[in-house]
Subunit: 216 residues, 2 copies
């Protein structure tokens, strides 16, 4: 299907959730779903869901609901998971290891091709079939393998220098756990930031709100 | 300040980001900021920011901008970070360790009081001043210490049973890394889910989109 329409950022942000829910339905051999059932599962209104799904075309049929498989395939297609972008992960501490081990890279459009760390003790280890190299080897590795993406699992203090190195090696896409604001340094890069503290604060808000309401 | 107004969910979702940016401004001794400057930093429109900040009252002054400290304090207050909710973390693998080490719990309204794991080899270890206990001790520990929150750093397959145990121990708030949909099981719990795969798919989308545009 051609990408002949512009989908808004909030809709895009919801696509991975749709994709997850639809994947679970497929696992349970459910072939069709109505917007009402999907809205129950996702905590959105049925009209919101119809509006979202209308953005990318005709998978709903009045009275029959949506084809789970069709919708799942189309959303995966829009998200670009047929790609196999080459990624290097930098920083093999607990966080880096957790990311390397738990992420379903190949199902999400990526391929992890190398892991780098400053700690010589970690050299030669294998994490998820991926060798850990010393950070000094980053330049040579990147020139040879031309990764598309760098995953930053390093402290904030290390991020700026690392970004300069990666940028000069031609890497323009970043999955960033470092809390350093990479896009301030270079405007022509693509950055997806992960801020777990934000999620923690939202939890704090939800708990406080619930307490406040129960005290009213 | 009394919580006499209802703030919408999308605004709430943006508050931790405001809080982060304002914290950085404070670190740099910046005392006032205009909505335009804040919008440049945050990638939102100035009018969106004025609208957001109007939700919680008078920190802006025409021509003078916002008091960084005032706004920072008020947003922290709304998010409830003055609290000190007691949290237990379950699952001390790479992910659990990373969460225990990297999260600024005390600055976000929480206190980590215990870590639990099935692996006897980890018993008695200390992570961020917190002792690792065997999961068998969860019941006794919770009866004594009455945690408010459980942090699930366990595989999806382990989540359901663990949830039943925690629920019966009186825990109603969950920070959930397990990908298991906890709120389907109990409707009277508060859950904040972390889905790193969603973030990865958004990155994939951004890269694919950029490629598609450069090929047009």
């Amino acid at each position: 299907m051609k990408k002949d329409r512009k989908i808004s950022a909030p809709v895009i942000r919801r696509l991975p959730r749709y994709y997850r829910f639809l994947g679970e339905l497929l696992d349970n051999n459910i072939t069709r779903i109505s917007s009402r059932e999907l809205s129950d599962k996702m905590g959105l209104t049925a009209s919101q869901i119809r509006q979202d799904l209308n953005c990318f075309g005709g998978f709903g049929q009045q009275g029959y609901g949506y084809s789970v498989k069709g919708l799942y395939g189309e959303i995966g297609h829009i998200l670009g998971i047929r790609n196999s972008y080459k990624a290097v992960l930098i920083g093999a501490g607990n966080l880096g290891k957790a990311v390397a081990v738990h992420m379903a890279f190949e199902k999400r459009g990526f391929r992890l091709i190398g892991i780098f760390d400053n700690d010589s003790a970690k050299m030669g280890q294998t994490i998820q079939n991926c060798t850990v190299f010393h950070s000094d080897e980053l330049e040579e590795f990147c020139r040879e393998n031309k990764p598309d993406v760098a995953i930053f699992c390093v402290p904030k203090t290390a991020a700026r220098e690392l970004l300069d190195r990666c940028y000069h090696l031609g890497i323009r896409n970043y999955w960033n756990f470092s809390h350093y604001d990479l896009s301030v340094v270079y405007s022509d890069i693509i950055v997806e930031n992960v801020h777990l503290n934000d999620s923690l604060m939202i939890l704090c808000y939800k708990i406080s709100e619930a307490h406040a309401q129960s005290e009213e």
